[in-house]
């Protein structure tokens, strides 16, 4: 979903109605990204709300309206990181979401999904962010690095670490299933 450049220009010039149309179109996408990374209802909503407010506040600084989506992504990721730190600092408990098994998909057994959930939940916010940008938004490591504002090498390193952790989780579950089947 690409934001309408004319709406961005109008909002940049202070048109609140134009901004309202923009965020109504974009809020679902922002919320999904936030939920995937933070794994928590309250935190996800707070991060998106904060991102939308920061976006409105700083919009006049955006020179090129065609860069709005990338710019907003970065604001959202900063808000997500801030929210995660804030929750840690004040000791608020995060309610880790449980996955619901899909009707039909290629992920396989429920045990695989639980294992992915468990490992993904243990990754840091920084690692989860790169995973979501790469596997959900389809960004390359270079694009993810630009979006987050980190060196490309760091993004590649985080992606490699996180992917290997998830791969190990799936393979461990496969071994367990295989052993269980062999003994049955």
């Amino acid at each position: 979903l690409v934001a309408n450049s004319e709406l961005v220009r109008q909002a940049r010039d202070g048109d609140r109605d134009a901004y309202d149309v923009l965020i109504t179109e974009l809020v679902d996408r922002l919320y999904r990204i936030s939920r995937l990374i933070l794994r928590d209802f309250d935190s996800s909503e707070d991060a998106v709300q904060e991102a939308l407010v920061r976006c409105w506040r700083d919009l006049p600084r955006l020179r090129d309206p065609d860069r709005f989506d990338a710019w907003l992504n970065r604001i959202l990721l900063n808000a997500i990181t801030d929210e995660a730190r804030r929750r840690r600092r004040f000791g608020a408990s995060l309610t880790v979401l449980r996955m619901e098994p899909a009707q039909v998909d290629g992920v396989g057994a429920l045990a695989d999904r639980d294992e992915l959930e468990r490992v993904f939940g243990r990754l840091s916010i920084e690692h989860r962010t790169v995973v979501v940008l790469h596997f959900y938004l389809g960004m390359t490591a270079d694009e993810a690095a630009t979006t987050i504002g980190i060196p490309v090498g760091t993004a590649k390193s985080r992606l490699h670490y996180a992917t290997e952790a998830l791969r190990a989780a799936l393979e461990a579950e496969a071994r367990r299933a295989s052993a269980g089947g062999a003994t049955a």
Binding site: S43, Q49, L52, L59, G106, E171
Partner: protein, 225 residues
């Protein structure tokens, strides 16, 4: 052994499989309310860099700022019109010149939000659920008595969930200026109308048709370092 493409597909499918369809309506509602009271920054403000104090841009910016401040003071002296629904640039609740007080929470207490800008907008509990918020002892904005439209509070006794919990507690008399507290609120159903009032030095706004509400139940004094 899974191949790289198998693994990539599995991770992507797993992520997509648990996505929510839509953001909750209350998220947009709370965001709109916050945006209504948020002014935009001027485009000429330097982003993320310390400006060269000898540059012409800084001189021009300083001149514009001086004119803006003079105009603001003039408006205040001449008497500002009732701002009604017009957004007014909010002063900082925590002036940067003042170091933030370090909050000391009672052992084991977990709070749903901290700070004077925290709202109940993100709470998912049922009506009747209670939550604690930490309101640190911070200086109130010096211009509070001049700008009734600034206050981020909607309602009287029963407040919209996008109201600041701490300011609602101050409005209800649970927190005095210069004090901090742990405030307990209780979620309530939304109302068709919310009344405005001026209580305990805090002005609240009227509004209508909020999805959810809260009431302040109690407050206990907050320890500070």
């Amino acid at each position: 052994m899974s191949t790289r493409s198998d693994l990539d597909r599995s991770i992507t499918e797993w992520l997509v499989s648990e996505l929510p369809d839509r953001a909750p309506e209350r998220l947009l509602e709370a965001s709109r309310a916050a945006i209504r009271t948020t002014p935009q920054r001027r485009a000429w403000w330097p982003a993320g860099r310390v400006p060269n104090m000898n540059s012409n841009i800084v001189r021009i910016a300083a001149a514009v700022a001086a004119v803006a401040v003079a105009g603001f003071i003039g408006i205040q002296l001449l008497g500002a019109p009732d701002p009604g629904d017009q957004p007014v640039p909010p002063p900082s609740v925590s002036p940067s010149a003042e170091p933030s007080a370090k909050i000391v929470l009672p052992t084991g207490l977990q709070v749903a939000g901290t700070g004077w800008d925290a709202t109940a907008g993100g709470l998912n509990g049922r009506d009747g659920s209670r939550y604690d918020f930490a309101c640190p002892n911070e200086p109130w904005p010096p211009s509070y008595s001049w700008q009734p439209a600034w206050w981020p509070v909607w309602g009287t006794d029963v407040y919209t969930t996008y109201s600041s919990v701490c300011w609602a507690a101050a409005h209800g008399g649970y927190i005095a200026e210069g004090s901090g507290a742990i405030v307990t609120i209780e979620l309530r159903p939304g109302l068709a109308t919310y009344e405005s009032s001026f209580r305990n030095g805090v002005a609240s706004h009227s509004t209508d048709n909020s999805l959810r509400s809260f009431v302040v139940v109690s407050a206990i004094a907050l320890g500070q370092d």
